[in-house]
């Protein structure tokens, strides 16, 4: 059997019985807990049912308490393996979990006002040139400036923290960290934006666990 790891949690009771609690301690005397989903060794991580099962567990765990999301793909065969691979991160994770215990993430995905065409591999002589062009296309998407200003005015004041993120060539995202009790207020503000900008395609989703705000690459 192996464990597909879903997230990092402050307390064991945040995990049980929704997932298998796996200790990760590092140099932290109290330690943290990872949530694992037990699956047979021969079940590939790309298995559709496993993906859905993991997504379902993720949602249930977030309802219980805020946790740090581990990107899908980390699987381990024993508690010892989990502990070894996560030990370097434990101190940083504890600080995040304690700081953001009452917060969740929301995501506002906005269609780019003028989406860049996605590069075609055949137009480039080398893979490096192609990847560079792909990256340029994915970082140049911008939202309608009027809509973006309205978002800054309506949504960002509700946030503890927020970050604009480029993810692909056709959209831009705002990651919003906010207290759980303000999620509904944010949704209402999102509905108001929909009324005010009926022609701007956007999607407000969440709540999500700590994803962008726990990712060292986004700091």
């Amino acid at each position: 059997m192996k464990y597909v790891i879903v997230g990092v949690h402050l307390r064991r009771e945040d995990v049980e019985p929704l997932a298998v609690p796996l200790p990760c301690r590092g140099s932290d005397p109290e330690g943290l807990w990872l949530s694992g989903i037990e699956v047979p060794d021969d079940q590939p991580l790309s298995d559709r049912d496993l993906l859905i099962r993991t997504a379902t567990a993720r949602a249930a765990l977030l309802e219980r308490a805020t946790f740090i999301a581990i990107r899908y793909g980390f699987a381990a065969h024993s508690e010892r393996e989990v502990a070894t691979k996560t030990a370097p991160h434990v101190d940083r994770w504890r600080k995040l979990l304690e700081a953001y215990r009452g917060e969740v993430e929301m995501t506002l995905k906005i269609a780019a006002a003028h989406p860049m065409a996605r590069p075609v591999r055949g137009d480039f002589s080398s893979g490096t040139e192609y990847l560079t062009a792909l990256h340029a296309a994915s970082t140049s998407a911008e939202a309608d400036p009027l809509f973006r200003a309205a978002v800054d005015e309506a949504l960002r004041p509700l946030a503890v923290s927020s970050r604009w993120i480029h993810r692909d060539n056709s959209s831009i995202e705002l990651a919003i960290l906010l207290p759980r009790e303000k999620v509904e207020e944010l949704r209402v503000a999102g509905e108001s934006l929909k009324q005010a900008f009926p022609r701007v395609p956007f999607l407000l989703s969440g709540p999500w666990p700590l994803e962008v705000f726990a990712d060292a690459d986004h700091e």
Binding site: R48, R71, P115
Partner: protein
Amino acid sequence: MTMPEPTDDLSLLETLDHLLDRGVVISGEAVISIGDVDLLYLGLNIVLANVDAIIRTANRR
């Protein structure tokens, strides 16, 4: 880019998008899959959700 009204399918799509493309990456773990087979297991700092994710990660290093 079209943005349909929220539905259960859309909710699932968003959830899978977050599962595959967001969150903390544990160093040394990466699985590339096609269909139902995990093809490669790489000692990298990235999980390959899609090529855009690879590029973003590479450019931040």
